[in-house]
Amino acid sequence: MVKILFFARLRQQLGTGEITLADFSGSLAALRETLCEQHPEWATHLQRDDVRAALNQQLVDTSTAVGAGDEVAFFPPVTGG
C-alpha cells in the first residue's frame, strides 16, 4: 500500500488531502499517471510543471521509484518564510 498526501492549493483543487493506492510499484511519474487515470479531473492540477513531489518526506524528482509502505506527497511550490 502507498500513502499519498496532497497539500495547500493542490489539496483544495483535488478535494482530498490523503488517499491510498493498493499494490502500486513504479516511478513517481507512473504513480501520477495512475492517479490521473483513476481521477481524470485531477490531471490539469496534478500534471502541472510546478507540482513538486516528496517520497518519505524528502524532495525527489519524478523518476524516483515508489513501492509498498512508501509515503508520497504532491504539493505546489512552497511559500514559507
Binding site: 495547500a8 518526506q57 512552497v78 511559500t79 514559507g80 518564510g81
Partner: protein, 159 residues
C-alpha cells in the same frame, strides 16, 4: 558542546527576545546574525488582512533540520535556531526567526542568509492570504511562489 540546533514549528507567537537570549547566552561566539520575517500588509497589489500557514507535519521539521545541518557543513557555527510559525496570523506577526552564532561575522551572515534562502525554496510551508477584493470584500487566496527566491537559492550552488 556549543553546537546546538533548535528547530521548531509552532502555532504560538514567536518570542524574538527569548529566542535571542537562548541563542547567544553562553554561546561564547563573538558574532550573531538574525533574521525575522513578519506578515506584511501588502502583497502583489492587494491589501492583506491576515495569513494562514499550512505545513507538512514531519517533513517540514526534517527539511529545516537538513538545512541547518548543511549550513554547519559550510561554515563554523556555534548555535543555530530556526523557528517557524504556522496557522492563522495577523499583520505584523512574526512568521520566522533564524539565528546563528559563529566566531566569524562573515560566516554568521552567510549562514543566516543561506538558511533563509533554502527555507524559502524547499521547506514545505504554504501561505494563504486574506485580501480585500475590488469590492472591498475579504477573499482568501494562495500566495504565489516567487521566481526571485529560486534565483537567490541558485547562487549558493554556483559559488
Amino acid at each position: 558542546m556549543k553546537e546546538v540546533d533548535r528547530i521548531e514549528v509552532c502555532e504560538t507567537p514567536l518570542n524574538v527576545a527569548a529566542e535571542y537570549a537562548a541563542l547567544q547566552g553562553n554561546s561564547g561566539d563573538g558574532a550573531c546574525a538574525l533574521f525575522v520575517g513578519s506578515v506584511r500588509d501588502f502583497n502583489a497589489g492587494r491589501d492583506v488582512c491576515g495569513l494562514n500557514l499550512e505545513y507538512y507535519p514531519g517533513m517540514t521539521e526534517k527539511s529545516l533540520q537538513g538545512i541547518a545541518r548543511d549550513a554547519r557543513r559550510r561554515w563554523p557555527l556555534g548555535r543555530v535556531t530556526i523557528v517557524h510559525r504556522v496557522g492563522p496570523m495577523q499583520i505584523n506577526d512574526e512568521i520566522v526567526f533564524v539565528g546563528v552564532t559563529s566566531p566569524h561575522r562573515q560566516a554568521a551572515f552567510a549562514a543566516c542568509q543561506y538558511i533563509m534562502d533554502r527555507l524559502k525554496t524547499e521547506a514545505p510551508f504554504w501561505k494563504r492570504e486574506a485580501v480585500a477584493d475590488q469590492a472591498g470584500n475579504a477573499i482568501e487566496r494562495w500566495v504565489e511562489a516567487r521566481a526571485s527566491d529560486v534565483a537567490e537559492m541558485e547562487k549558493w550552488s554556483a559559488g
